[in-house]
Symmetry: C2
Subunit: 461 residues, 2 copies
């Protein structure tokens, strides 16, 4: 007797309904990516290890899934290395490939490899799974999809404006009105660090500030203090924890605070341009707001930093984020290529739509018409009808065996089929078919030769 099968922890099977719901989100995201002029690329699931290793910090390196070399993988291990029994020395000898950890590094690699064929500015989107050997927990998986859109080779702030519009378009289309698009600028963070005399501690400063949501003002102050930022500096930065007022009021506070910092002033100027332009164009349903505590942990952002919060009342954390990084491809030998991009958090958006009941009901309707099966002769007439309906583009099926009619109806119910067609002995003799509307329970009879009348009826629905 075979062992009961299972799947690796942190991975998931997706049922038909789950796939339909995920595709619903992905299709809307894709549609707007394309409307905004982005083009899809795809990269391999695994990369050469040296493409990925060292790009995500020590923790990242640890979380990258490595693939064992095929065949006799010990062949390349010399006696001395083997004898040392050292995991990391051995890893580089027995594994040369690794699963993609995100879509950004493979994209940078793609741009460098294809730089002569790409028409810059290059607006690409990419929707593919990534893998991380993270400890699985609620909402965190070892295999999950990323949905990224990036522009490389364009310095203009129009890109930032466009990404705000793109977030607005997608979330409005998903029926998620009222998301909060938070924006900050790395130059403002640098300016603040400079203004309070903690310029050298910028990274520690931003990492601490980024945690405001999670650990509160006191926690942030303690962490800054632990990292060696003076009490005096912390006191100077404290007002920022509770910056209030309209966006333009906040911008003018920042402008004054950072007037002596070249970086900081530049950051305020950039943010001001983005706000004014977005305001002039208008948003459908999203809010755009300043959040000077926003750093997104990542050190590669150099300009705008974006993050999207679910509509108020839904406790989900960020459902999207991104920013500008001035040197995307330098790691692969192509310097000075500016990039800016955003991503959508598919799993979290799914949970938000589920919680708010915003998935269209029709997603659970994978079959529009089921013909019941009353035996060989009747089935033949039914199959002919089903073929015609399919040719017209309807999702139609014939129950494959003449099981008890009750069982066939049960199947129709479980698959949420709105119309069931019956061609029994009587109907076959009369060259007709009966259509049962499963919601209302009403029945209509059509002549087989008039099947087109039924289709017209369906199309008007």
């Amino acid at each position: 007797m075979a062992k009961k099968p299972s799947i690796p922890k942190g991975t998931r099977d997706f049922t038909p309904t789950e796939v339909a719901k995920r595709n619903y989100i992905v299709d809307i995201v894709k549609k707007h990516f394309e409307i905004f002029g982005f083009q899809p690329i795809e990269t391999p699931s695994f990369e050469n290890s040296d493409t990925l290793m060292g790009k995500y910090g020590d923790e990242g390196d640890r979380l990258i899934f490595k693939i064992l070399n095929s065949g006799d993988f010990l062949r390349k291990v010399d006696e001395a290395t083997y004898a040392r029994r050292d995991t990391s020395a051995l890893t580089t000898k027995i594994s040369e490939k690794a699963l993609r950890y995100d879509l950004t590094v493979p994209f940078a690699r793609y741009v460098v490899m294809n730089q002569n064929d790409i028409d810059f500015p290059f607006k690409r989107y990419q929707i593919q799974p990534v893998w991380r050997a993270d400890r699985p927990q609620k909402g965190r998986f070892r295999e999950f999809y990323q949905c990224d859109a990036d522009v490389v080779g364009a310095d203009s702030l129009l890109q930032e404006v466009e990404f705000v519009q793109l977030y607005d378009a997608v979330f409005s289309d998903l029926g998620l009105d009222g998301v909060n698009i938070k924006i900050n600028n790395r130059k403002i963070l640098a300016g603040i660090a400079e203004a309070i005399g903690a310029k050298d501690l910028l990274v520690d400063f931003t990492v601490a500030l980024d945690k405001l949501d999670k650990i509160g003002a006191d926690g942030v102050k303690k962490e800054m203090s632990d990292k060696g930022i003076s009490e005096e500096s912390i006191a100077k930065v404290e007002p920022l924890f509770s910056l209030t007022g309209s966006n333009s009021e906040q911008l003018s506070v920042l402008k004054n605070l950072l007037s002596n910092s070249v970086d900081g002033s530049k950051g305020v100027e950039e943010l001001t341009y983005i706000f004014e332009t977005v305001e002039a164009l208008g948003l459908k349903s999203a809010e755009l707001s300043i959040d000077v505590t926003l750093a997104r942990g990542l050190n590669y952002y150099t300009g705008a930093i974006l993050e999207v919060e679910a509509p108020s009342g839904v406790d989900m954390g960020s459902i999207g984020g991104g920013g500008r990084y001035d040197d995307l491809t330098g790691i692969f030998g192509l310097p000075d290529v500016s990039g800016v991009g955003i991503s959508f958090g598919l799993d979290r958006i799914y949970l938000v739509l589920e919680e708010l009941g915003r998935f269209p009901e029709t997603l659970e309707q994978s079959l529009e018409i089921l013909c019941l099966n009353f035996g060989d002769k009747e089935a033949m007439a039914a199959l002919r009808l089903v073929s015609q309906l399919r040719e017209a583009g309807f999702k139609a099926d014939l129950y494959p065996s003449d099981a008890k009619i009750q069982k066939q109806f049960k199947y129709a119910n479980k698959r949420n089929v709105p119309y069931v067609i019956l061609i029994g002995e009587k109907e076959l003799a009369e060259e007709s078919f009966v259509v049962k509307d499963m919601e209302s329970g009403s029945q209509d009879t059509y002549a087989l030769k008039n099947w087109d009348d039924f289709m017209q009826h369906l199309k008007q629905k």
Copy 2:
């Protein structure tokens, strides 16, 4: 200076045009899967090793990509095993997961794990990548997509009829008229082996017969002889190598030849039913023909065996195949679940469409409208227009910087944009915009407030 990056051998990057072409095929396949009542599922990219190992023969086991355990993977290796330095003993200790090798075994695993929630008959489709550590060569990759549709829990031959119709529907929709759907039945092969007294050598017999296309009649005879099939038996089977005539003529030859074999007669009966039913329903453009040499190498088929050949004149081998297997899930402890399924060979279909020039030209048009950028003020008006066009669903973009107009036009040409919009100083002053039709070269001027007129013009295209 960083090393020039590369990708692992046997893997591919897909450019925007390639993704568009692949999606064109996949979308048509998906559309018909759904019209025929199939539902999508997705399974994880990696499975527990014991789910996959031993399911594809020794050669298959060797070709499965194994994933190194995370962290200190040597922890679980005892001293004695380590000292032996034995690759396969070590593999099971340092690797517990492996990349999916096909979609059939994960599907069987899925069915067993979810048997209580599935409404049988279960018609599922699955389009996901698989990985094989095969030696890469022309048309053979280490990462490639499979597109599978299977029905489990239905014994009826109506399924086989439906799969023939499905192949016909997909290939007709792809503009690949005249594909040849070859069909055979494992029971016929068994009957032949029985009739010639080589019943015990059925596997060797079918494997040899399957190679007729590649090694010719003499090659097949030699291989059969090498495997211990008698000259007398080979003489009996020889007429089958060149079975001719209409399908019904061939069926009647087989019927006579196999009249003493229970299995064989059953196979002929099944094939006859499928042919008669398909003929009664009619096919759009495909041919259906008997091929008694068809075995598809795989030993798990128990009934129908299907394979699709590209239209004559294209030398590509099979572009799809499948069949019935009476015991899909037995390997995971759920016996007697009959399955029947087919798959589409995405990479080969792509090559055929490319060779015949059947991809729609519009696939290379990823952007419908590009607004040129004449500077900040003009760009603002252009951005407003672009936003309106996008809202109406058009793929529109604004060039992100006021680069030389020649450079912007070059970009428009490279991206195959059909319409370029110009809002320069003069147009801004006159509150108008100029539309240049890139194919005809003609220019039209519209008032900015009448942008809807332009959209109506586009929609009529």
